[in-house]
């Protein structure tokens, strides 16, 4: 097997190199949003804010190029495998971010039956798209 050792890979013009058939996530996070918010682990996330019950904002370390990225995620009752579950959704908050900002985004966790906002003990998200 041949091995290429390098710390940084760029195109010959100094820009982004093409990785054949590969697209990497640009950010991800796993956090406890119940009680005092605690980020368990993350990548390219500088902070996550608790904006109220079931409401959170995610800040990127390195911004995205536009708001057209995808940010799928899911949330669970902490340690609870009941049939009801929580819904992860984007939200618009005029005093935090418009939905899908380049510097971050805001999300809402709610009960799937009652649509009431709820704190989640485990919110997990991934961001796919282009960096600025």
């Amino acid at each position: 097997m041949s091995t290429l050792k390098a710390d940084t890979i760029q195109s010959t013009g100094g820009g982004a190199a093409t990785l054949t058939k590969q697209r990497a996530a640009k950010a991800w996070a796993n956090f406890n949003g119940s009680g005092t918010l605690a980020v368990r682990d993350s990548f390219n996330v500088t902070s996550i804010s608790d904006d109220g019950t079931g409401l959170y904002s995610v800040d990127f370390s390195n911004a995205m190029s536009d708001g057209n990225y995808a940010a799928p995620g899911c949330a669970t009752y902490f340690g609870n495998d009941s049939a009801t579950g929580l819904v992860y959704a984007m939200r618009t908050s005029s005093n935090v971010y418009t939905e899908h900002g380049t510097a971050g985004f805001a999300l809402r966790i709610s009960d799937n039956n009652a649509d009431s906002a709820l704190d989640s003990g485990s919110v997990e998200l991934t961001v796919m798209g282009d960096l600025a």
């Binding site: 290429l4 710390d7 890979i9």
Partner: protein
């Protein structure tokens, strides 16, 4: 276009850290941290995955509940799982669809598996189940 043909990339400073320049040419991103370390597409009617990466097996743990067993484990339980399903046994969606992963997170201490649950008005063996996991491998 210049092209390098190689089978393995390794960082010179740290073997597991290779930076690639972002699309906007102004920042770099850690290639390894961005790569999905495990993914699986499965139908809860079967314990055989339709397609997968780094998935050793699937375990049916009850109606609407599956365990995804990871081949090469993560190095902690703080990895991120995104799970989407249709909450129905066929090609449609019911009301109140919920699909969650790592439902036993609080009591799950192993780095080699996670739980999924599919709920569409009731627990149901969902037809389309997609999971991706990001984090640090052991």
């Amino acid at each position: 276009m210049s092209e390098i043909l190689v089978n393995k990339l390794t960082g010179t400073s740290t073997a597991g850290v290779i930076l690639v320049t972002g699309e906007g040419n102004s920042t770099t991103t850690n290639l390894q941290q961005g790569l999905a370390k495990q993914w699986v597409y499965f139908d809860m009617a079967s314990t055989t995955a339709v397609d997968s990466l780094n998935t050793s097996s699937l375990t049916d743990s009850g109606t609407g509940k599956f365990v995804v067993n990871i081949n090469n484990d993560f190095n902690n339980t703080s990895y991120t799982v995104n799970y989407t399903g249709n909450g129905y046994a066929s090609d449609t969606f019911p009301a109140n669809v919920t699909c969650v992963a790592k439902i036993s997170y609080e009591t799950t201490t192993t780095t080699g598996l996670y739980d999924t649950i599919s709920y569409g008005s009731a627990l149901v063996d969902s037809k389309y189940n997609y999971c991706t996991a990001h984090g640090d491998l052991a």
